[in-house]
Symmetry: C2
Subunit: 464 residues, 2 copies
């Protein structure tokens, strides 16, 4: 359970990692959609949520690594606000909920920062990603808004990554509980995967389930009969018999922990033989990666194992040829899976991606690769107990990529292009679970969403 | 139907209203949620949509009022983008879809603006409301990002207001068609208004219906058993028998026109006598306002007529006393309805609120009031054929406001405080329709969502 002590302890542990300067942890303000007062769903900054836990707009936190002081800045509601908004807790009461004793009006923040700057003290902060925080932080730090992020603190980022990578019991509990909403979303999509339904209808239903379950979607839903288009947020198609519907969708829990799952269903409820063969390779790859995931192994090793499993399956179908270890070492399989096996997940669906992907997914031991495919692996470093990562292998037939490689005969020793040509209209399949690294291995969070082809077929048919 | 000519004509009409300088019409970029790449649903800027019609991120339009030139700025997708995103139209093709012959890379925009500034030409723009556009426009215009909005062009705003206030046949058609989604949302909420359901579940269902119907919600949903809290986005309550559920919710059509309706339902399907009496006053007020709405009358007059109708009903119940014309003239009724009767609606739910509310809802003839209640009326000026406005009277018992007024004996001649005290736990009722000013009067857009108390009761009961 999340308590006052959860936040007190997190700040304490952060303070044990830095000993100079002040951390400025900016909360988010409301994001305007089409005019100032018409805002998107409020989403608090994840770093602020992690250390200060308060889920409303217009707050900022300070942690002084020298004096040990912790301060919350924000404004109390006026009597007029209360007439329109109903009774509201005072800033001081909110501060106490998360164990902070010093709270001040937001206008004081500038004085405190200016004083610290005049004393030559370092202000540590993570890179802002919203325009309004860039402007606010620029004003506080005497920097041009667009340049603030260049001054972000690597030291603070490294400390936050060290803490947030290892999920606490309360976090695991929250994430696991919310998998029920993920399950409902994906089984609903399966039940709706029938000819005549539209991608837009299904997307709407899933967004509704997410919101009814407590939170907004954790990222823009991918719901497409063109699963081979990896960055695809077009929902204009109507499903037809024989299509594969790829749904990559997740939900935020009430405390803003993300789910992220992908399933691929046969529209109408029956895979063709050709579909089932490719599908089964992806299931096998997913299971193999899950079984290999454990403390002490690097996720890059798991990724490469997955790629080899996949490549072996593709070779059996005559799509690849030659030595699969060598093919994977050279990156030939990336024609079919140009992305990585997975990423950390937590308060963000790509956890801590606002910090710096290199500092989150890599370290001195495991360095990022520049090889096409492997370069897209977000998480490569050694796994530790209570990391949570996604496991999301996929096989895609991307016409533009096939044409590009074929033209130059790229990896012609490993790829059987004539056979690949006969799959050019196949589409794509991805199967993604969220997995917890345990002390001895790993396990899927929550009840597993149907993944075996016959179970998926049955779920689709049950929605007739 | 919206065609290329729709946009050509709109720009032509804008050009007929200004004869000096250049309009810079910035499209929106994606809004980051919790890290740069994790974005909210893309929402194009409404002014850009109105004149340039293109619904994707990273575009800007220029209209030269002297040379008559129209230009679109944006970047083509690279081959790498196409591998990840699928085939994409070229900027030039998109430009042609809306009748623009000159299109250039986004990087050229700065040169064009700098050249115009160096020639001393005026750059007209509407006030930015998103941080990233403030930063981008600051860089283009050599202004501090936070100061850009202070330089917005009143001349351009007035011209846009003149055009956008009068809805074209294609706009009315689009708005009317999308009322089917509004109808589905509100009747679903009614059917879900049963003890044990949560506000969050209902909100989720409505968001899902909106998205399935083609677009995001047009504003954050109000779905509350505390209808008396006017700015209420808390959805943490569970419905109980006897509660009134107030739902103020709308949806964006595929072309981003908004709906905005409010209904108030008796949880479980049966109004109490006390509830029905107040409810009936609100229905009567809504109908009276609708009947009075026509070209040539000011919406301030309709607002005041509505207030008098409401006050007369409250007097019948012993909640007000004395001369109701005088009570409304002095603003005593605002204890019960502290907001205005309605606002313009179109591409924005509060149409053009990003411009300047005074220039949208008022003019030289009708000036804004500073009287509590009337000061919250967003739209006061004379109605014209094909304006679309909301009609949203409400009666609320706001404990903090009642206490505040009672303490000072405010309007004690008009308000029967002992009687009001006995309603202090009543909550609030609002009933809102979107209405089109016709040549001879007005009509509700779309099929009217059930509003008579017995129809609402029946709809609630049908969801058992
Ligand atoms: Mn993922
Ligand atoms: Mn409204």
């Amino acid at each position: 359970m999340f308590t006052k002590e959860t936040y007190i302890n997190r700040r304490k542990r952060l303070k044990s990692k830095l000993d100079k300067g002040i951390a400025l942890i900016m909360g988010n303000v409301d994001a305007s959609m089409n005019y100032p007062q018409n805002t998107y769903h409020f989403r608090q900054d994840s770093t602020f949520l992690y250390f200060f836990g308060l889920d409303h707009a217009g707050l900022a936190g300070l942690i002084d690594f020298e004096s040990g002081e912790e301060m919350l800045f924000g404004d109390d509601f006026t009597m007029d606000d209360i007439i329109w908004m109903g009774p509201q807790p005072k800033l001081k009461e909110n501060a106490e909920k998360v164990g902070i004793n010093q709270s001040y009006p937001l206008s004081n923040l500038n004085k405190v920062i200016q004083k610290a700057l005049s004393q030559g003290r370092t202000i540590h902060f993570t890179p802002p990603y919203r325009g309004k925080n860039m402007i606010a932080m620029g004003a506080l730090l005497n920097l041009h808004p667009a340049k603030v992020k260049d001054q972000a603190s690597t030291e603070l980022i490294k400390a936050c990554v060290a803490l947030r990578s290892v999920k606490e019991p309360c976090e695991i509990e929250e994430m696991e509980r919310h998998m029920a909403t993920a399950y409902a979303m994906h089984t609903t999509a399966m039940k709706m995967a029938h000819p005549g339904k539209t991608e837009q209808e299904i997307t709407g239903a899933l967004e509704g389930i997410s919101m009814s379950g407590g939170g907004i979607v954790s990222f823009p839903i991918i719901c497409s009969i063109h699963g081979e288009t990896l960055h695809n947020h077009y929902h204009g198609n109507t499903l037809q018999q024989g299509d594969l519907l790829l749904v990559d969708a997740g939900s935020e829990s009430p405390l803003h922990y993300a789910t992220d799952n992908t399933r691929t269903s046969p529209v109408g409820g029956q895979f063709t033989q050709k579909q089932k063969e490719i599908y089964q390779i992806v299931v096998n790859t997913n299971n193999k990666a899950l079984a290999a995931t454990k403390p002490g192994i690097t996720y890059k090793e798991v990724h490469l194992l997955a790629c080899k499993t996949m490549a072996a399956g593709l070779k059996d179908l005559g799509l690849m040829k030659g030595d699969m270890d060598e093919a994977v070492a050279q990156g030939a399989h990336a024609l079919f899976m140009p992305h990585g096996l997975g990423h950390m997940i937590g308060l963000d669906v790509h956890d801590m991606e606002d910090y710096d992907q290199q500092l989150v997914g890599y370290d001195d031991e495991v360095r990022p690769s520049s090889q096409f495919g492997l370069s897209a692996l977000r998480m490569g470093r050694k796994l530790e107990t209570h990391f949570v990562v996604t496991n999301e292998p996929g096989i895609y037939f991307i016409p533009a990529l096939i044409d590009q490689w074929k033209k130059t005969g790229k990896f012609a020793d490993f790829i059987n292009y004539p056979q690949v040509e006969s799959y050019k209209n196949f589409g794509g399949i991805r199967l993604e679970d969220d997995i917890l690294v345990t002390e001895t291995g790993s396990r899927i969070l929550g009840k597993r969403i149907p993944i075996n082809p016959e179970d998926v077929e049955q779920m689709v048919k049950s929605g007739c």
